[in-house]
Amino acid sequence: MTATTTLLLKYFLSYACLLVVGFLTTRHIQFILALALIYSLVVIGLVILIGYAGLVSFGQGAFYAIGGYSVGLMIKYFGIQNAEILLILGILTSTVMSLVIGLACTRTRRIAFAMITLAFGMIIYTILLKFYRFTGGTDGLRIPLLKFGGVFPVRGYSLSLFNLTNEYFIIITVFIFILFLSERFIHSPISYTLRAIKDAEVKAVSLGISPAKAYLIAFIYAGFLAGLAGTLYAFLNAHIDPNMTYWTTSAEFVFITILGGGSGIPGAIFASILFLFLKTYLLAYTAYYWQFAIGIIFLLIILLAPSGLTGIIDKITRSLKKALTKS
């Protein structure tokens, strides 16, 4: 079997697994899973920024909100109801915005980068909040039931395949495509360039590498992913609000990234799913105290296992292998 067929088989199997989960689970579970996959899109972008480029963005919520609000505002002001047009517009707007914002942000490093991305996120937040006549203010915007190609609603049960909902189907389909794209990105020359710069910027520059260009490409890719995630969130949740770009949302994304280990795509997906299920069920059982539990879990992980969930899983599989070879 060639490498390409193995790779294709891997995506095909992942897609099949996600579909089967959709057949068998309730709408509620599918909603949480779909939301987790949306989060993981943002987090994959952050893995590239933090893990590969060494840039910690505290403003990823900005692009998440830009994706969401470009859907909301296009509906409000231009009456567009086609989901495919809105999806493309959401991606375009957030990609263009990430180019513009990225040109400014990628001139900085380390703490300054974290602070400038935070500033951009908060500027967009205050604009969405204060110009309420245009943006709906704290109430946000309601998203009506949109349709793909005029026939396939973004939410509902028009597939009649067991319990599979439209929203879950749409999101896993986009997700598998992005998974493929992101693995290509991680194995592309640009990602090796990023790692070279992260390890030794001076040496990389002397070899003729341009850090500015590499950083900008990584920033735009991460912005594109967050924008796409925001667009899908608008479809899934039927409602968007300015909290999408409040600094705690952006910090939450970084939090999940580090929870997953911050170095690979599987960790990002795993951490997003764990985070959202924890949040949903802790919220249901403890009402006010889910942040407390999440905070404690995170403290324990970072203090005892700095490489996050990926590290913990690695450790378990390694000790299992050891135990198996011994016996």
Partner: protein, 298 residues
């Protein structure tokens, strides 16, 4: 006669807002300068000071002490909260992460923020809390055609006094010199026989106390709700960036600048009130990454 009302309003708002911003961000910047940690939980420390002061004021009032003594309760609560936070959190948690990468340090303090926020909800409940006795007791003052609650004068007097004391501690005492030495070069300080562990605990406690005092002084003017401090911490980040990371004097000057900009823009374009702070922050990072007091980027 010339109408001086807008000018008086601008001046008063600037002065009040400066002292509040400075109390939060001077401590934040001191911790950043000495411990090299950007403390995301700094805002929630302010909330702890505010909530504790409400409890102490209520206790004073219920033990039939005169309202005048509640001002003492405010300051006492701020001090207690700061010292408690400082001596628990630095040795128990922060000490374990000094050698970690920046993003881990940021997120540990973020996790602390989440934990303390929910502890506040657990202790004081999710509903909003108001104690206005110290605020109403002082009455109002008429200046320049505006009536200002006298409480704000008390807040400013105490607030600026605390900032002055901090300045004196940092610049004219042995402890201040030790802080400066540790911030400048940790290894050489150790070689000179400075107990860096102790210095870190003291510096963190002093920084935390400034913000808890700020929260305590503000509490009578606010309706306290869980999560109210998340807005203040990002404002403090902006101040710290504009003043220069780790620069205590810069943080005060940046507080003044931000307070003035905000007071001015509120009169002209109220919608941009909050955005102004972050726009100034943005341009400072781009044009003067070392803070406004330092030279231009070369």
């Amino acid at each position: 006669m010339l109408d001086s009302t807008p000018v008086t309003m601008l001046a008063m708002n600037t002065l009040i807002y400066t002292v509040i911003l400075a109390l939060i961000s001077v401590g934040l910047n001191m911790i950043l300068g000495i411990l090299r940690i950007l403390n995301v939980a700094h805002g929630v420390f302010m909330a702890v000071g505010a909530y504790l002061s409400i409890t102490l004021v209520r206790f004073f009032l219920s033990s039939r002490l005169p309202v005048a003594t509640t001002y003492l309760a405010l300051i006492l609560a701020g001090l207690i909260a700061g010292v408690l936070i400082g001596f628990i959190i630095e040795p128990a948690i922060l000490r374990r992460i000094y050698s970690r990468i920046e993003v881990h340090q940021l997120l540990v303090t973020f996790a602390l923020m989440l934990i303390i926020e929910d502890l506040i909800k657990f202790i004081w409940g999710p509903q909003s809390q108001i104690v206005t006795e110290p605020y109403l007791y002082l009455g109002v003052l008429n200046i320049g055609g505006l009536s200002y609650p006298l409480y704000y004068l008390f807040l400013m007097a105490v607030g600026y006094l605390i900032l002055l004391l901090t300045y004196l501690i940092l610049n004219h005492t042995k402890l201040g010199k030790i802080f400066l030495a540790t911030a400048y070069d940790r290894e050489i300080s150790v070689a000179l026989g400075i107990d860096v562990k102790k210095v870190y605990t003291y510096a963190f406690t002093l920084g935390a106390t400034l913000t808890t005092l700020g929260g305590a002084l503000m509490s009578p003017t606010l309706s306290l709700q869980p999560g109210f401090s998340t807005d203040y911490i990002v404002l403090a980040f902006a101040v710290v960036v504009v003043g220069g990371l780790g620069d205590v004097k810069g943080a005060f000057i940046a507080s003044l600048l931000m307070a003035f900009a905000r007071a001015l823009i509120v009169i002209v374009i109220p919608e941009l009130e909050l955005a102004t702070v972050f726009i100034i922050m943005l341009f400072t990072i781009l044009l003067r990454p070392e803070g406004i007091l330092k030279g231009r980027k070369t």
